[in-house]
């Protein structure tokens, strides 16, 4: 019972914050709004910790706290309850969401204090947290879908927060609709699962998940998981539905940190991990996931190389990192995927907040070509940013190193992995190191290219404190899940992470696992190669972008077509617009014009014209001349009499 209350408080506290701020949305007092919102999330955070502690106290196999509130939809065999569950997976997500969320709320107080819509902003943010909590806590796919769409809605509202800018409003709409495409597939996936297994509850589904692998592409499990994965590509910005995420940077920067880096975009990964037995049973789907993940990781990284907007660089980096997570779950390394989800949440939130701090200092300037040398002005931001940078490029013993390395290794060694997947992953890592270093170099290092009128200044404590906390987490969080090989090397550090998740992760079938054997030395070698290449690329980028800028310019000049291709993001948006959206709109107009106006209505009008013209014809008989009328009478008489005579 007290669990139930705890979960209720956890859920309702952000909702309450949303309502409080929502009803006084006109207020411009950022202190009250920010305090209410931050407190609300902090309360949730505290609840999350309490729940986590309770979970720890339970034996490993039965670590599950459920709270059943009411029956939501009951019809036929469908029983969906407003029930929530905290287990190994969702408790981690809870801590990330509420923890990082609270920090970002705190950061927002400083960041948004000058904005007129600050109260509205905080209410949206709280509402987002509420929906995100429903997403991770829901005990069935439908309850998850509630949060799934809810966070999409919040994302829509927050991307279009500065709605008077048409482009930003359009970006919000784009995000929502792209997500909807995924959601439609998600719905189909749910239906297939429900009709096959008769339930949508995660635990029941996982228990029912077949243990034999499904070979067919059109099998129910494969199809269902593929559909769910398409849903995940929408939410988690994977090929082909990633296009919304870079545009989503139109929203306030803390939003980008919270929604578009740390929490919402990882929902797809979370969903797959939640249903991991189902996905394990569908090797074809897993293959697709791994390929899409790897391809996204590389492609987004290549685009990231040429971006000049600080947030766009981070956005593509997010897409790329999410690609890693999918790569991980695609090869069956669910734990590694989850781990990267967490570390990424820390360091990417850190970097986004850092960029927010920079943008704040630069008075809304986001172009890194107009920055440089900010190290002097923003020491705290710079320092914490370095921590995030080291984490993301996989510098040894930073958090990103552990998670990324584990993913790379698994993509190679897992029975569902492949050397090419490793190559793609490593390539992504190299590119990541390059563009992140470029970002650092152009923003913080080298000579200042800052406009004379702008005087950068360090941010207030509300903004720096979250940076510092996240910086610390980015450094140390990797140690809770030290990969096997490194643990050996460092003296048998237990992999707490794997132990924690083990009960809820279904391992790949034994036969498959036994079919591949890898040695520790292979792992060291691959690790060495990838880290070495990444470090080389980072150093190269450092040199190019601080000392020898002409190299970059010359390269861009000599590889003009490729540069243009990357600069225009492979023209994906253009292709979508040219091939789908514009023709659709045009054809809709034709459809309306031809079918509604020219076929259906014309038929109606022809029918009515026949009646009208017939009436007009008969009307001439009715000319008002009474003598003519009398004639008709006599004519009628003649006809009748003739009939009588003829008979």
């Amino acid at each position: 019972m007290d669990h139930q209350i705890l979960i209720a408080v956890l859920l309702l506290s952000p909702l309450l914050g949303f309502l409080i701020n929502g009803f006084r949305f006109r207020s411009q007092s950022y202190v009250i709004a920010g305090t209410v919102a931050t407190l609300a999330v902090t309360v949730s955070f505290v609840c999350s910790i309490l729940l986590f502690i309770e979970l720890l106290a339970l034996p490993a196999e039965s670590r599950r706290i459920t709270a059943h509130f009411f029956e939501w939809i009951n019809l036929g065999d469908l029983n969906i309850n407003a029930a929530f569950v905290v287990d190994q997976i969702s408790s981690i997500m809870l801590l990330i969401i509420t923890g990082v969320g609270a920090l970002i709320h705190l950061f927002s107080i400083g960041y948004m204090h000058h904005d007129k819509g600050v109260t509205k902003y905080f209410s949206y943010l709280n509402f987002f947290v509420f929906n995100m909590l429903i997403l991770v806590l829901g005990d069935s796919l439908v309850t998850m879908f509630v949060g799934w769409e809810g966070v999409g809605l919040c994302s829509y509202l927050l991307i279009g927060f500065w709605f008077s800018d048409s482009a930003k409003a359009a970006a919000g709409m784009k995000a929502f609709i792209t997500n909807r495409v995924g959601d439609a597939a998600f719905l189909l996936g749910m239906f297939i699962l429900f009709m096959t297994f008769g339930t949508l509850n995660f635990y029941e589904l996982n228990a029912l998940a077949p243990t034999t692998m499904e070979a067919s592409w059109l099998g129910a499990v494969t199809l269902a998981t593929l559909m769910l994965f398409i849903g995940a590509t929408g939410k988690s910005a994977q090929i082909p539905l990633y296009v919304w995420l870079p545009d989503a940077m139109a929203g306030p920067t803390p939003v980008s940190a919270l929604i578009h880096a740390a929490t919402m975009v990882t929902a797809g990964v979370y969903m797959i991990i939640r249903l991991n037995p189902m996905f394990v049973a569908a090797p074809n789907t897993m293959m697709v996931i791994a390929i899409v993940g790897a391809a996204t990781a590389v492609m987004a990284a290549t685009i990231g190389v040429v971006q000049n907007d600080i947030k766009k660089v981070l956005a593509y980096s997010t897409v790329s990192q999410l690609g890693y997570m999918f790569l991980a779950v695609g090869v069956g390394a669910f734990g590694a995927g989850m781990m990267h989800l967490m570390t990424h949440a820390f360091f990417k939130a850190l970097m986004f907040l850092g960029s927010g701090s920079v943008i704040h200092a630069m008075h809304e300037e986001q172009d890194i070509r107009k920055m440089g040398g900010l190290r002097k002005y923003l020491p705290v931001t710079h320092f914490t940013f370095i921590l995030g940078w080291l984490a993301i490029i996989g510098f040894p013993f930073f958090s990103g190193f552990f998670s990324k390395d584990e993913i790379l290794w698994q993509s190679f060694s897992s029975p569902r992995g492949h050397t090419l997947l490793w190559v793609a992953g490593a390539l992504g890592a190299v590119l990541t190191a390059f563009y992140m270093t470029r970002l650092m170099a152009l923003t913080f290092w080298g000579k200042s290219r800052v406009d004379k009128n702008i005087h950068p200044h360090e941010s207030p404590w509300t903004m720096t404190v979250p940076l510092i906390i996240l910086g610390i987490l980015s450094v140390i969080s990797g140690f809770i899940g030290v990969p096997h090989a490194i643990a050996e090397f460092m003296g048998h550090i237990p992999n707490y992470w794997q132990q924690w998740l083990a009960p809820v992760i279904r391992p790949l079938p034994i036969e498959e696992l036994q079919s591949v054997t890898h040695t520790l030395s292979e792992e060291y070698m691959l690790m060495g190669i990838s880290v070495f290449l990444a470090m080389c690329s980072a150093i190269f980028a450092y040199v190019v972008y601080t000392k020898k800028k002409h190299i970059a310019e010359n390269t861009a000049q000599s590889l003009k077509p490729i540069y243009n291709l990357l600069d225009n993001k492979y023209y994906v948006d253009e292709i979508y617009f040219g091939a789908i959206i514009n023709p659709l709109v045009k054809q809709s107009r034709n459809l309306w014009y031809y079918i509604d106006v020219n076929v259906i209505d014309r038929m109606t009008h022809v029918a009515s014209d026949v009646a009208t013209n017939g009436g007009k014809l008969v009307k001439t008989l009715q000319n008002g001349n009474m003598q003519q009328y009398a004639m008709y009478v006599s004519l009628g008489l003649i006809i009748v009499l003739s009939y009588v005579l003829m008979r």
């Binding site: 009307k619 009715q622 000319n623 008002g624 009474m626 003598q627 009398a630 004639m631 006599s634």
Partner: protein, 108 residues
């Protein structure tokens, strides 16, 4: 024989034919004349024609109902003439003419 009997023996048919002719004459008046009063007179003509056949039937069927009907028809005819003339008077007051074309407002 037939010739003489047709002329000398006056029967019901004679009256009916007379009535029919008178009726068609009245009808021709209604169809052709433009003066409303004449049209009204033509109507009287038709009513009279009908009356002839009523009375004829009455006689040859030994039944007084026909005569009663004539009685009613006369009354109605008188009434109709009165109303018709009143309307004509109204029309005349306005247009100074009693042409039937003033009744063409029934045009559809």
């Amino acid at each position: 024989m037939l010739e003489t009997s047709m002329f000398s023996e006056i029967g019901l048919n004679h009256y009916l034919v007379l009535s029919a002719l008178l009726f068609t004459i009245g009808m021709a008046g209604i169809l052709l004349r433009r003066n409303l009063i004449v049209v009204l007179m033509s109507i009287e003509l038709m009513l009279n024609a009908v009356n002839i056949s009523f009375v004829a039937f009455s006689k040859y069927n030994m039944n007084s109902e026909g005569q009663v009907m004539v009685f009613f028809v006369m009354t109605i005819a008188a009434a109709e003439a009165a109303v018709g003339l009143a309307i004509i008077v109204s029309i005349f007051k306005r247009f100074k003419e009693v042409n039937i074309r003033f009744f063409e407002h029934l045009k559809g």
